[in-house]
C-alpha cells in the first residue's frame, strides 16, 4: 500500500509540474485556458489522493473547491472574457518558446536541488511534494514574467496559487479555514481582475500590458 500511495502521489504532483511546463508554451488563449483547467483538475486529484492517504477528510473539501472553482468556474469565466474582449485569436510570447522551456526545466531542477536537502528530516513523500510544489510556483512566476497579455498573466498567477495549495496539502496540517479563505480570495481576485480587464479595455482598447507602459510615457 505504501509503495502504491507514494507512486500515485508522485505521479499526480509530477503531472502537475508537467502541465505547468505545458502552460509555458501555449500561444493561443483558448488552449491556455483549457490547459489551465486541466492543471486545476490534476490539482484536485492530487489533493484528494493526499486526503485519502493521510486520512484527512477536510482535504476532500479542498479538492472539491479546487475542482469547482479552478477547474470549472474560473476557466469558463475567463473563456467568456476572452470571447467578449475578442482577443481569442491573439498570439503572444515575449521570450521565445525554446529558451522559456529550457529556463523552466532549469527552475524545476533548481527547486529539487533546494528542497531535497532542506527537508531532509521529512518523509520522502513530503519531500517530493514540496519540491514539485516549489517548481509549480516558480513556473507560475516565470509565466507571469514572460507573458504580455493580462489574461495569461492571470493564468500564471492562478497556477502559482495551485502550487501553494499543493504544498499546503502535502505539508499535513493546514486548517480548513485557511484553505477556504484562500480559495475565496482567489475567486475575489478573479472578479477584481476581471473588472479591471474590462475597464482597461474600455480605456485603451487593448489588454496588452505594453500599451499601458506606452501610455505612462516611459517607453516609445
Amino acid at each position: 500500500m505504501h509503495g502504491l500511495a507514494f507512486d500515485v502521489a508522485h505521479l499526480l504532483s509530477g503531472s502537475l509540474v508537467l502541465i505547468s511546463l505545458m502552460l509555458l508554451y501555449q500561444d493561443r488563449l483558448y488552449s491556455l485556458l483549457n490547459i489551465f483547467a486541466f492543471h486545476a483538475v490534476f490539482l484536485a486529484f492530487a489533493v484528494a489522493w493526499q486526503a485519502f492517504i493521510q486520512g484527512a477528510p477536510h482535504l476532500y473539501v479542498t479538492a472539491a473547491i479546487a475542482l469547482a472553482f479552478k477547474g470549472i468556474v474560473i476557466p469558463v469565466s475567463l473563456h467568456r472574457m476572452v470571447q467578449r474582449l475578442g482577443i481569442h485569436r491573439q498570439i503572444e510570447t515575449v521570450v521565445g518558446i525554446g529558451p522559456t522551456m529550457l529556463f523552466g526545466i532549469c527552475l524545476v531542477a533548481l527547486s529539487i536541488m533546494v528542497m531535497l536537502p532542506v527537508t531532509e528530516q521529512a518523509d520522502a513523500l513530503t519531500q517530493e511534494d514540496l519540491a514539485f510544489a516549489l517548481s509549480v510556483v516558480l513556473l507560475g512566476l516565470l509565466m507571469m514574467v514572460t507573458r504580455r497579455n493580462a489574461v495569461s498573466q492571470i493564468v500564471g498567477f492562478m497556477s502559482l496559487e495551485n502550487g501553494l495549495i499543493l504544498a499546503a496539502a502535502g505539508a499535513k496540517g493546514m486548517p480548513l479555514v485557511v484553505e477556504i479563505s484562500i480559495a475565496f480570495s482567489v475567486l475575489i481576485a478573479l472578479i477584481v481582475i476581471g473588472i479591471f480587464l474590462f475597464r482597461i479595455r474600455e480605456r485603451f482598447d487593448t489588454v496588452d500590458v505594453q500599451v499601458l507602459d506606452r501610455f505612462r510615457g516611459e517607453q516609445p
Binding site: 527552475l107 533548481l110 514574467v145 505594453q210 517607453q219
Partner: protein, 670 residues
C-alpha cells in the same frame, strides 16, 4: 533626593517647553520662559554642585517609563554631577542672557518651545543609566538643537547647515546605537550596571572605541567629522549657539568619557594613540580654520573645534597612563581635560554672548564691517576681552590653568613604557603649543578687528550697548573665568571626586590647604602655579607702568608733521582688516592646509577701478572626504531613481530574479 530634584527640574523644563506652545507667538512670553528655565537650571546646578562637593555616593533611580520590562534608569555619580553642573551653568547663563537678548528675536515661536527641551535633553543624557534613556535623550538633544538651528530657516545657508547637521547627527546616533549594541551583548543587557560588569573581547572593545569616536566625536566636532559644526552653530540664535558650542559639545565629551572610561573595560595603550592623534589634528586644524574666518560666530565655532582637540589630548593622555597603570599621570591628565571642559563652557559661552551682542547692536557678523565697538559697547568689549584672553590661555585666567595642567601631563610622558607613545606625546605637545599660539593670534584678531580701530561701516557707528540682563550674564561669566583662573586649587579639589571615580581611587593631592592658593599637581620640585600672585603682580606692574608713563612723560605740547603711519588715507576702510591680519598665517600654512591661492588683479593704467586681491581657500577635508561621499550618494540615487518607473512585468521579473538568485544560493551553499 538630589537625583529626584534634578529629574523634577528637567521635567519642569520639558513641561515649560510644551506649555509655551499655545502662547509662544505672543509678545512678552520669552522672559517668562527664560526666567523659568533660569530657575530650574540654577536649582539643578546647586544640587549637582552640592552632590559633587559633598563627595556623596552614587544615587540611582528607576522610573517606570520607556521600554516596559526595562524602565528608565538614572544615576548621579561624580562624573554625572560634574557634567550636570557644566550643563546647567551654561544653561543658566544662556537663559539670563536670553531674557534680554530674546526681545530682539523676530520669530520667538520657533525658539521658545525647543529651548527648554534642548536643555532638559542634555541633562538627561548626562543622568542616563541605560542605553535606551541615553540614546533617547541624545536624539532629543540633536533634534531640538536642529530645530533651534533652523529657527531662521530663510537666512542664507541655514537650510544647508540644518541638512548637514541632521545627516551628521543621524550618523552619530547610529554609531552610538551600534556601540551600545556591542556593549549590551547578545543577552541585551542595556543597563549601564550590566555593561560595567560585563567583559568584552579586545576586538569588540576596539570596535566600540571606534564607534564611540565616530558617534560622540561627530557631535563634539573632531576632525574630520567637524564639518557640520561651523555651519550649524553660527546659524542658531546667539544664546543657542553658546549652548551648542559651550555645552552640547561637552555632553558629547561626556559620552566619550562615560563609554570609554567606565563601560568599555580596561583600555589598551594604543587607544591613546588614536585619541591623541585625533586630538592633535583637531586642535591645530580647528584653530587654522578659525584664523581664516571673517564671520565672528563661525570663527568661534571653529575655535570650539580646537578646544575639543585640547580636551581630547587630555583624555588621550589619561588613556595612555591608565593603560600602563600610572594612576597619578592618569589623574593629572583627566583633571586637565575636565578642567578644560569647565573652562571652555565658560569662555565660549561668554564669547558667543559677546558675538550676539555685536550682532544685535549692528546686525553684522562679518568682522570686516565692524570696528571701534569698544566705545559704544564698553561692557561687552571688556567681557569679550576677558573671554579672548582666557581662550588664548593667558595667565592668570582659567584657560591657562587647564592647558598648563595638560602640559604637565605631557611632561611626565617619558614615564610611559611604549616607545610609540614616548615619541607621539611630545609631538602632540608641540601641536598643542602651536594651536595655543595660533589661538592667541586668532583672538587678538577677533577682538582687535571687531572692537578696536575705527568703525568700518555706518552700522558699526550706530551700535549701542545691549540690555542689562545680557550684560549681567556676560559679567557673571567673565568673573567666573577670572575666579577659575585665580583659584585653581578649589576647582582641582572639586574635580578630585570625579577623577577618583574614573581612575579607581587615585587623584591629585588636595590643593586647598596649600599656602597662597598655589597649585602643585605633582610635587613642588617639579612645578607649581599660583594665579593669585600672578594676578597681584600683573595688577601691580601695570599700575606702576601706567603711573610712571603718566609721571615721566613730557606734558609739553609738541607739533610734528601729520602722522600717517598706517593711516595714509582718512577712510576707515583703509585700516588693517581681518583679511590682512590673517595673511601672514595664510602664507605660512595656507598652501598646505587650504590650497590657498592669492591673485592680485591690477587695473589697467588709466583705469579708475581699484586693485583687488582675490583669495581662494579650499576645505580639503570637505573635498577629500565628504564631496566624494556626496557624489557617490548622488550617483546611486540618480540611478536607482529609474527603479520607480519600471513596468509591472519588470518589477515581477526583478522579484523573480532575486528569488532565483537566493534559491540558487541556498542550493549551492546549504
Amino acid at each position: 533626593m538630589v537625583l529626584s530634584v534634578l529629574l523634577r527640574a528637567m521635567a519642569a523644563m520639558a513641561l515649560t517647553g510644551v506649555a509655551v506652545i499655545p502662547v509662544c507667538r505672543r509678545h512678552g512670553t520669552g522672559p517668562w520662559v527664560y526666567g523659568t528655565v533660569l530657575a530650574a537650571c540654577s536649582i539643578a546646578f546647586a544640587a549637582a554642585l552640592g552632590h559633587l562637593l559633598a563627595g556623596a555616593a552614587p544615587l540611582t533611580l528607576t522610573l517606570p517609563l520607556g521600554i516596559p520590562w526595562l524602565g528608565a534608569h538614572f544615576r548621579l555619580d561624580a562624573l554625572s554631577a560634574f557634567f550636570v553642573m557644566v550643563v546647567n551653568l551654561g544653561g543658566a547663563a544662556a537663559s539670563l542672557y536670553a531674557i534680554g537678548y530674546g526681545r530682539h528675536e523676530s520669530e520667538p515661536h520657533r525658539i521658545l518651545p525647543f529651548y527648554p527641551g534642548f536643555l532638559a535633553a542634555m541633562n538627561l543624557v548626562v543622568l542616563a543609566d541605560d542605553a535606551f534613556v541615553f540614546l533617547f535623550a541624545w536624539e532629543l538633544m540633536s533634534l531640538s538643537s536642529w530645530a533651534l538651528v533652523m529657527a531662521h530657516h530663510r537666512a542664507e545657508g541655514t537650510a544647508r547647515a540644518g541638512y548637514i547637521y541632521l545627516v551628521m547627527a543621524g550618523f552619530g546616533t547610529l554609531c552610538l546605537l551600534l556601540a551600545f549594541g556591542l556593549l549590551a551583548g547578545s543577552e541585551g543587557a542595556y543597563t549601564f550596571d550590566a555593561m560595567r560588569a560585563g567583559a568584552l573581547p579586545v576586538s569588540l572593545q576596539t570596535l566600540v572605541l571606534v564607534l564611540v569616536l565616530l558617534g560622540a566625536g561627530s557631535k563634539a566636532g573632531i576632525v574630520p567629522l567637524h564639518v557640520w559644526l561651523p555651519l550649524a552653530h553660527p546659524a542658531a540664535p546667539s544664546h543657542v549657539s553658546a549652548l551648542m558650542s559651550g555645552v552640547m559639545t561637552k555632553v558629547a565629551v561626556y559620552g566619550l568619557i562615560r563609554i570609554v572610561f567606565t563601560l568599555a573595560g580596561p583600555p589598551a595603550w594604543w587607544w591613546a594613540v588614536i585619541v591623541l592623534i585625533i586630538g592633535g589634528a583637531t586642535a591645530v586644524l580647528g584653530v587654522l580654520y578659525a584664523l581664516m574666518q571673517n564671520d565672528l560666530k563661525r570663527l568661534l565655532a571653529y575655535s570650539t573645534v580646537e578646544n575639543i582637540g585640547i580636551i581630547y589630548i587630555g583624555l588621550g593622555l589619561a588613556l595612555a597612563f591608565q593603560a600602563n597603570g600610572l594612576a597619578v599621570g592618569a589623574a593629572l591628565a583627566l583633571t586637565s581635560a575636565l578642567y578644560h571642559v569647565l573652562n571652555h563652557s565658560l569662555f565660549k559661552s561668554l564669547l558667543f554672548f559677546g558675538a550676539g551682542a555685536v550682532l544685535s547692536a549692528t546686525g553684522e557678523r562679518n568682522m570686516e564691517h565692524l570696528g571701534g565697538l569698544i566705545h559704544p559697547m564698553p561692557v561687552s568689549a571688556a567681557t569679550f576681552l576677558v573671554g579672548c584672553a582666557a581662550i588664548s590661555a593667558l595667565p592668570p585666567l582659567n584657560g591657562f590653568v587647564s592647558e598648563w595642567l595638560t602640559f604637565q601631563a605631557i611632561l611626565i610622558s617619558p614615564d610611559l613604557p611604549q616607545w610609540g607613545l614616548k615619541f607621539l606625546v611630545p609631538a602632540v605637545g608641540a601641536a598643542l603649543a602651536l594651536s595655543a599660539a595660533l589661538a592667541a593670534a586668532c583672538f587678538v584678531r577677533a577682538f582687535g578687528i571687531t572692537f578696536l580701530g575705527r568703525p568700518r561701516t555706518p552700522r558699526a557707528v550706530a551700535a549701542a550697548e545691549i540690555d542689562r540682563s545680557s550684560r549681567g550674564a556676560m559679567v557673571v561669566l567673565a568673573v567666573l573665568c577670572i575666579l577659575a583662573g585665580v583659584l585653581p586649587g578649589l576647582v582641582v579639589d572639586a574635580l578630585s571626586g570625579v577623577v577618583r571615580e574614573l581612575t579607581q581611587g587615585s587623584s591629585l593631592p588636595a590643593q586647598s590647604g596649600l599656602p597662597w592658593l598655589s597649585l602643585i599637581p605633582l610635587s613642588e620640585a617639579r612645578s607649581s602655579y599660583n594665579g593669585l600672585i600672578l594676578l597681584v603682580f600683573l595688577t601691580f606692574t601695570s599700575t606702576l607702568i601706567a603711573l610712571s608713563v603718566r609721571r615721566l612723560a613730557s606734558h609739553e605740547v609738541r607739533r610734528a608733521p601729520a602722522w600717517d603711519c598706517g593711516f595714509p588715507d582718512a577712510s576707515p576702510t583703509t585700516q588693517y582688516s581681518a583679511g590682512s591680519f590673517a595673511q601672514p598665517i595664510r602664507r605660512v600654512f595656507g598652501h598646505v592646509a587650504f590650497r590657498a591661492v592669492e591673485r592680485v588683479e591690477m587695473p589697467e593704467p588709466g583705469s579708475l577701478q581699484p586693485a583687488r586681491l582675490h583669495v581662494h581657500l579650499r576645505d580639503l577635508i570637505w573635498d577629500t572626504i565628504f564631496a566624494p561621499i556626496q557624489k557617490v550618494v548622488a550617483f546611486t540615487t540618480e540611478h536607482l531613481n529609474g527603479l520607480q518607473f519600471l513596468t509591472i512585468r519588470s518589477y515581477l521579473a526583478l522579484v523573480f530574479g532575486v528569488l532565483i538568485l537566493l534559491l540558487s544560493g541556498l542550493a549551492l551553499w546549504p
